[in-house]
Symmetry: C4
Subunit: 221 residues, 4 copies
């Protein structure tokens, strides 16, 4: 028998807390099974949510099942999660407030009014991001943050459209949405993105501009 | 039946140890239930305190119940904790020695004889601090440290008065006091403050002066 | 009775996940018992593999036993692992994607078309690397990364040949292979290498060129 | 009934492993009960030692009890541990390879042929080091490392003599020995020293020369 996705959500949130992705009630994950989407509640300590705290909504965000604990609220990010389910046929979408990602969004190159981009290449961990090889450039779109989380929906949808090869959209000074065909792939892709953000940030902190050294180039020191 | 706050204190101190907030016997938490305040003992390994090690005091700091283990002492911070309970009607107050906060206090701008201030803005995690939105400036007061912890009381009370929008007062080269209507909110606010301190410190270490980029501004590189 | 190496692999992968060596499905470990080599499967969350998920291959890489779960695949790194088993008579080989190592590979000095080298000396932790004392120079070969992991085999074998005193070969922008007479020694040597990479990287980030100070030299500041 | 110090050693080594103090078989702890000294074995994974793996020696280092597992060896650090037991009447001595301490030893100021010193002041965590207040200067002696660990004995004993106010001696590019009247105080003092090393190193990495700001001084920025 398949594991209840509510249990998976509770377990994954504990893992994310250890990784520093969901401190201060931030972040979360939602998982789709058929036409049902399971979502962690909003504004609570994510590392302590119980399976029975989760909401179930349909693909339009209509609540199908509410937790018995009436003080729990559906996340404001619901429309953002739903965008990835709808536009990319995702099986799971996670939202992280990782400091590695937040710091890197500050370095994103602006390409449009409310859209920027980060480019990563030649790191083995990029292979863990669907459709990317070692020599490819992974373009991660970064949308500007807004006062209210739900106001991100338009720019997030546009970024999803414009960057069809990215399984993620970052939000400047905020965090990142990462999805995949299932919750395992969403999580492992998020780990790969986190890793490349950490490495690029540390390179910059050490004053290293580029790590790209082909055999034909002279040695870096 | 409600959980004994002494158990909550023991569990939270283990969590804080994992976060690096209470190493070397530093830091702690106290929780109010009605007119009773439950406090972790002083000068012991916080990650190992047992529920029965806690003191119970009244709002004036008079000891109502002492732990059976007579070697345990009430914390010197008691008057500091009590200030937040009294002046802000807090339900819980925590004290952390987080290195992220300690480092940031070194960068605080002096505004008075024994008072400085740190300003944070445009980070999503600021929304987790009561009364603050993404575009607001969170002003965190920083009082000078003193040779004895109890001598902080006056400056802490003045800072609480002067910065009514802050649920926290930091202490230069020392740590931070954070409170909330209950222990969950005290802890999640402390996590948000810790996060913004970490991010600002890392920006500075990487030589980045500002992360504020509106759509109208040119791209940062 | 000896512990099943499949159990050891599952436990070690959880340890490596805590250390940040195998995030995003990267990395792994294989253990030899006589002519049988036990290998973690590829492309799965390493912190969650079960003993029964492991493959058993012979010294030429022929599969002797497959896991019942037919969706599991043998790792593409198999030929790399086998090289160390064959050329160095290793008892265990681990592969880590540690960010400390990945960052340091960027600083390796090129000595040949697809080969570079890192040099470490005068750190106590170097004593944990077989055949090395405190005053020795530990030369860690770094081969260039390739689009496909199996294409690393030739350069890895050449590096193993050319650096007979190193129990490890790093891969630029990718990670490291570390081996030893058994799985304990492979892991502890990997920890020592990770430590010296972390220390050298942090020295560089702080602008410190050298930590070598003999009694005869003037003080560093 | 008092807890067997062998159990305490095993538990503390797991804690130290989490803190990054004993990776790669480095570091350890020994505890005195009367004239008996309990010591962790050498060259093994410290996070996995069992109570029955410990040695018992007398104050001169003569082995009173050996572990049944004959492959286990007494640590080469034994004479170092014994020096602190003898010269300072310590109840417990721990040895850590913390990277925070190792990095800071590189910045120590040389004051004699094989002796250097680090000075820390105005950090609250210094209060956790016996005999030190917030405004005191904690002088941590740093002896030069040697090819063999036992050759450190002379310089360590001299440093203990010369710095009677320090409950610790660091070893350049190697680690630190920290002691106390009991194992709890040894560990909490080690945590405080680790914290101040981390903070001073991060200040330096961020280009901050001093964090000392009295009320009379102008603001730091």
């Amino acid at each position: 028998m398949e594991k209840d996705p509510r249990i998976t959500i509770a377990e994954m949130c504990q893992n994310f807390y250890q990784l520093g992705w969901v401190s201060g009630t931030g972040g979360g994950i939602s998982i789709r099974r058929g036409e049902k989407i399971y979502m962690a509640p909003s504004g609570v300590e994510k590392e302590k949510i119980l399976p029975e705290d989760c909401f179930v909504v349909d693909m339009k965000g209509e609540v199908l099942e509410s937790p018995r604990n009436a003080s729990l609220k559906l996340t404001e990010c619901a429309p953002l999660f739903l965008s990835a389910f709808e536009l990319r046929n995702a099986g799971a979408v996670l939202h992280s407030h990782s400091s590695n990602v937040v710091l890197m969004t500050m370095l994103a190159r602006r390409i449009d009014e409310d859209l920027s981009v980060l480019e990563f290449t030649q790191l083995e961990m990029l292979k863990g991001i669907q459709g990317h090889g070692y020599y490819d450039v992974f373009e991660l779109p970064v949308v500007d943050n807004t006062a209210r989380e739900c106001d991100l929906t338009d720019s997030l949808r546009k970024a999803i459209d414009r960057f069809p090869n990215s399984p993620a959209v970052a939000v400047r000074n905020h965090g990142i949405y990462v999805w995949g065909p299932d919750e395992v792939k969403a999580k492992t892709q998020a780990e790969c993105i986190d890793f490349v953000c950490e490495v690029y940030w540390k390179m910059r902190s050490a004053g290293i501009d580029s790590h790209i050294a082909t055999a034909a180039q002279p040695a870096m020191r």
